[in-house]
């Protein structure tokens, strides 16, 4: 049979999905063991036990200086910033997207503005944010907000314009006014789309978060990995990266779950 026609079986699919991960882990373990036998003090490729010890230390013993459990306080600090930033961006993006996409008069001004705003590299204005909002929490949240809001707004604007004219006319013949049309006809499909856009923007949001934390913070996952870099503590950095990936994946899964359960019609209408 031609290669192009061969498909994995059900069990085979799991195997194929896990195979690259297993190979990567294997390669890492072997390389780490080789380096550690050569030099027990090697810091570049720590063994699994070293990493577990490091995380145990970070997660389950109090920090001598602050009395915090650093792993959890870092996670809490980062998630607070991230969720706050994404939440504000989602609300503002939805508002701007609907205003610009559903009302031609408002779109006339908003649309070009959003087009320009989405081209500004957010990291380039990070210094401005530090100057304006200070070095504490607000500027980090604002970086996420400023980074993803214009993109969200433009995406939702586009989706609002894609709502067929027939649907809007129909809403008017059923007696809707501008406000109730937005509420009952425009908002539901856009809300579903917002969840999808947020999933796509997760990567960018984390990027902005970690950049901001790397530059100015006293806690947070990004702050920690940049701090311990000075001591070449790969045994902390690697588990932190895995943890960040897991958190991002969980948020992605949660957003998709909410979309499927809350808006069954958006995925083919299964109840």
């Amino acid at each position: 049979m031609r290669f192009i026609n061969r498909r994995p079986s059900r069990g085979g699919r799991w195997l194929l999905a896990l195979l690259p991960l297993i190979v990567l882990l294997l390669v890492y373990t072997v390389a780490s063991a080789v380096r550690l036998t050569e030099n027990a003090e090697d810091k570049l490729l720590p063994s699994a036990t070293q990493m577990i010890d490091a995380i145990k230390h970070m997660a389950f013993t109090e920090d001598a200086r602050s009395g915090d459990y650093l792993f959890w306080s870092d996670t809490l600090a980062s998630l607070t910033r991230l969720l706050l930033g994404m939440g504000i961006a989602a609300l503002v993006g939805l508002f701007l997207g609907i205003a610009s996409g559903a009302f031609p008069l408002l779109g006339g001004s908003l649309s070009p503005l959003l087009a320009v705003a989405s081209m500004v590299p957010p990291l380039a204005i990070l210094p401005i944010l530090f100057i304006v909002f200070g070095l504490d929490e607000l500027s980090k949240v604002m970086l996420i907000v400023i980074g993803i809001t214009p993109v969200l707004a433009r995406d939702l604007e586009q989706r609002a314009r894609e709502i067929p004219a027939e649907v809007l006319v129909k809403g008017q013949t059923l007696g809707g006014n501008s406000w109730t049309l937005v509420l009952r006809v425009v908002l539901p499909p856009l809300f579903s789309r917002l969840l999808t856009s947020l999933r796509l923007m997760l990567g960018a949001a984390w990027l902005f978060l970690i950049s901001a934390e790397a530059i100015s913070a006293t806690s947070g996952l990004g702050y920690r990995i940049f701090l311990v870099r000075r001591y070449m503590s790969m045994d902390i950095i690697l588990p932190y990266v895995v943890w960040i990936t897991l958190l991002a994946w969980a948020m992605d899964y949660a957003l998709n779950f909410v979309n499927r359960k809350g808006f069954p019609w958006s995925v083919g209408g299964q109840q």
Partner: protein, 260 residues
């Protein structure tokens, strides 16, 4: 005084003159079917009646008053596609027609009012044969069922007239026949004034009490867009069914050919 009066209506898209000097008067309860070649302006005329577009010249009057220049609850509409809300269940798609006009701030009812509205909507849905599909989403319905839903949705607000833009154009012939029966029954019950654009001449003859043929009276072969269409034939129908057959025979061949 006639129910709907169209006086010397002209409409163009840029250089393309679509309608010229259109005059028409329709009394309440008539079922007008609009036929003609593609691009002859029958859908444009429907959009003018709907308020989706405004005429460049002339006026459209409903009982002597100019029609509102934007769609409103006095005119129900069913399009060929996208006539229902994909994000609402069948039941809510009809209930929303009771909610929107009466809840200008929330756009929805709550509690007992919601229950009442849903019951009324259910009655309407049972009437069009969708009583078994209340909880489904439009994407789970067949094309014919979607159009039944669209009709129920349009009728629940009790419009003064019903505008249909090739509502059955995408349906297969068997389903289309069922829809014809349903539509005629509903029309007899509600005594609504209906305007229906169709590409199917026999559909036009079968359903209407009046067949309006849109065609260009003048044609400049070097500038086919220079002149617009008018109503060239206005045929009373279904007083007796025989008149329909005679009327088809009286049409010039190019109208019949184009309309097919």
């Amino acid at each position: 005084m006639s129910f709907i009066q169209v006086r010397n209506v002209w409409h163009n898209y840029g250089d393309n003159l679509v309608l010229e000097g259109l005059n028409l008067s329709v009394s309440e309860g008539e079922f007008c079917t609009l036929v003609g070649a593609s691009g002859c302006g029958k859908s444009t005329f429907l959009r003018l009646l709907l308020g989706q577009e405004r005429p460049d010249k002339g006026e459209l009057l409903l009982e002597g008053q100019p029609l509102a220049a934007e769609p409103d609850a006095s005119r129900g509409v069913v399009f060929q596609r996208y006539s229902v809300f994909p994000h609402l269940t069948v039941l809510d798609n009809v209930t929303i027609g009771l909610e929107l006009p009466n809840a200008p701030f929330t756009g929805r009812f709550f509690g007992a009012r919601k229950r009442e509205a849903r019951e009324a909507a259910e009655q309407m849905l049972k009437r069009v044969g969708l009583g078994h599909a209340l909880g489904k989403y439009p994407s789970q319905l067949s094309g014919g069922m979607q159009q039944r839903l669209a009709i129920a949705q349009a009728l629940i607000v009790r419009p003064r007239m019903l505008l249909l833009d090739e509502p059955f154009g995408a349906l297969d012939p068997g389903i289309r026949k069922d829809m014809h029966e349903l539509l005629l029954e509903l029309w007899r019950e509600t005594q609504l004034t209906v305007f229906m654009v169709t590409h199917d001449l026999s559909e036009g003859f079968h359903l209407g009490t009046r067949l309006l043929v849109f065609d260009k009276v003048r044609i400049d072969p070097h500038a086919p867009q220079a002149y617009g269409a008018r109503i060239t034939y206005d045929i009373p129908l279904n007083q007796g069914r025989t008149s329909a057959a005679e009327a088809i025979a009286s049409l010039p061949p190019h109208v019949v050919a184009k309309a097919k």
